[in-house]
Symmetry: C2
Subunit: 434 residues, 2 copies
């Protein structure tokens, strides 16, 4: 197929008419497909149903240290859950606090605490005139929503294939003590699926921020969420690296089992230095008597240990892999050679990041929606929902059944083609058809 | 028995020596008893073990509206859980948001949100020079800990047998727009066990606070926690009463199943007006994608409906009632006629509130501890841990086995007697024996 850029106005116009006819055919199908959120599919949820049986009315709900998990207490989480999640994200159990069902909630609470009480004795952020966060883009909309909600100014930093632009990160945090944090999804990043290189992690651990209350918000959402059997991205563990670099308190690491057991009914955690943990627990003991230990125990009894969890993740991969492969195959079949798009082909995580020609993303998403395929809103991967080039679209292949995905990806490609033609026609001075 | 006040110095001194000998005997027993916290006992926890069986690996975890409880979503909680907890605290299901496992956490988050974002458009409290809360005393230490943590000034208001001193409450909230809230445990109050009268509730609903962001923090922790079969305290429902009074947005009502199913593994809720709910959800949708719906469903399937829950609460009562009766009986047997103490005999809840002679509470708690019986620290029932008369002690009879409670209550009474004698000896100018 010839690149669209080389087509004449007439060729583009003719092609557009053909594609429009195909689009109308899709519209007539009354599709209702959703590729908007990183939502596990039913078959994935079924994988964890055994969790409903591990605790029964005749079970002993006592944990190893003798704690009755049914009663109040144990602010930081039961030891065996800290061990399991510690192994999952490669940190010592002593550096973990287990929370409730949502790592997003832990991140929110971490920012909320910094707003009202500062970090390790620093001025509460709500007392400062200016608080800023660095936001590698494209990134995770719910991160940006938290910082926006608290009135924190967000600064875009390009996210490259090997991680954020570290020259820029280093320069900005060294210069400006109003910069208090950076959002990172280091492994199988949301939405690119790329992972940070060793060099990027090492440079993160060696940041010299002007603000002593600067923290890296390391959202390790996809630590064990590989798609392929023997081809995993592996990262340098950031807590240990920060310690080696003499920066032990620089990072908060977040994780959960939301996409391992059940979204909404998993367990979440923060991992950080003992200084940070002490700081956090001063607040946490005011906020709660403790999180849901029965659910912690349920997770431990179900997975057994990290080997059990890894075996379980292979079952997830077996369901997810064909979904990613389907989308990627269709994109290749439909778009190769047209020079109108690029996309990532990650080895893990939940997303494919798709870049259209500039100024096309909103139109593509809108057109998909009109034919019954819902995507993450264009712009959502940028702070304030503003993609300066209007080109990034996050594709979430996990939820729809395989057959639907094929259809959705075809329709999506079709909408990409139409939008790309409109882009070139506009470039050539042709007024866009309504 | 003669009132201690009528004993001579010699009589007091002799009696003290006898009591001291008895105390030494208790010390030699190496007791390890705890009456410090409102912690359900093992038999109570066992009552809910059936909850472990209601969901199994072959269960359908779909709720009535078709939502798969295993996946993301449903910010406000599933409809059937809102119905169950709505019935439990006598509010419409539409006025409830279901949270995670802890109503304390909901209260904390409510204050935290007001600090950073105000209430329904008001100035965030963190931007104000002065924020105050009214604290009926004696009250719940964890309430006071939250307000103290956020630097909110706490003002003591006497809690009478029928509720807070409403003349004082009405006057203070009308005068001072820095007063933003009041902590209330309206039913089987912590620690007195008393409930607010109809008149008090009506006056609460008709408050005319100077601050339009003033809210009543109505901690309905013991709504169905009756001790006796047919002798319940019943309250006017505050949300409806506020509506009738033209003050629909005045109150946040909190509740949980912590002392119904499992402490730490129950479900919590806030009930409030639709205006307040809208205000809350603006924040909640940033903080989380949703709370644990599987656990919500587990509760609904286990209790069935409010009748099931009320039947369940009768089983709790059957366990708790003898414990309260034991403590009350021993206190009567040991202290009646001495004129050195008064205590409440509640019809529900988790606590007995005990008042010693002034200046004795710390000494009593300390002496109990030295003999192996742990009580809530004296002062804990007051803001900043400061009981101006050093006389209030919260007794929590729920956790220890019945036989232990009898011993603990005897020892406690003994410590009360010794401290009371010391009080009178000091009054008479006799230097206290070491």
């Amino acid at each position: 197929m010839k690149p669209y850029a080389e087509l004449s106005v007439q060729e583009l116009t003719d092609l557009r008419a053909q594609l429009k006819a195909q689009y109308k055919e899709y519209q007539s199908r009354d599709l209702e497909l959703n590729m908007a959120r990183g939502k596990p599919c039913v078959e994935q949820l079924d994988l964890s149903m055994g969790m409903m049986d591990v605790l029964a009315s005749d079970s002993d709900l006592t944990c190893e240290d003798g704690t009755d998990c049914r009663n109040y207490g144990v602010l930081g989480g039961i030891a065996e859950a800290r061990q399991l999640l510690g192994d999952m994200i490669e940190v010592p159990a002593d550096n973990i606090i287990i929370y409730g069902n949502s790592s997003l909630n832990v991140m929110y609470d971490t920012i909320a605490r910094a707003m009202t009480h500062g970090i390790m004795g620093s001025t509460p952020w709500c007392k400062l005139n200016n608080v800023k966060f660095l936001c590698p883009v494209p990134g995770y909309d719910r991160h940006f929503a938290i910082t926006e909600y608290f009135g924190i100014e967000m600064i875009n930093v390009p996210l490259n294939a090997d991680g954020p632009d570290m020259d820029m990160v280093e320069k900005l945090v060294a210069e400006d003590d109003a910069i208090k944090g950076i959002w990172c999804v280091p492994k199988y990043s949301n939405p690119t699926g790329n992972s940070y290189s060793d060099e990027v992690v090492r440079r993160f651990a060696r940041l010299k921020p002007a603000a002593r209350d600067f923290r890296i918000f390391w959202d390790n959402a996809y630590s064990v969420h590989h798609l392929y059997e023997n081809d995993h991205d592996e990262l340098i563990e950031i807590l240990a690296e920060c310690k080696r670099a003499g920066n032990p308190d620089l990072v908060y690491k977040f994780a959960s089992t939301s996409k391992i057991s059940f979204p909404g009914s998993g367990i979440a955690a923060i991992a950080t230095s003992s200084n940070n943990m002490e700081d956090i627990k001063k607040q946490l003991c005011i906020q709660t008597i403790g999180h849901d230990k029965v659910n912690q125990l349920r997770h431990v009894r179900f997975f057994g240990d990290i080997r059990g969890m890894k075996a379980h993740m292979k079952k997830h991969a077996a369901i997810l892999r064909p979904k990613f492969e389907t989308v990627e195959r269709v994109l290749h079949e439909e778009l190769d050679g047209l020079n109108v798009a690029e996309w990532t082909e990650p080895k893990g995580g939940y997303f494919i990041s798709f870049n259209s020609l500039p100024g096309c993303a909103k139109a593509i998403v809108k057109r998909c929606k009109k034919a019954g395929v819902v995507l993450t809103p264009a712009g959502a991967t940028y702070p304030y929902g503003h993609d300066p080039h209007d080109r990034n679209i996050r594709i979430a292949p996990s939820y729809p059944p395989l057959a639907d995905l094929e259809i959705a990806a075809r329709l999506f490609s079709l909408c990409v083609k139409i939008a790309s033609i409109d882009h070139y026609l506009e470039e050539k001075g042709v007024v866009k058809e309504k």
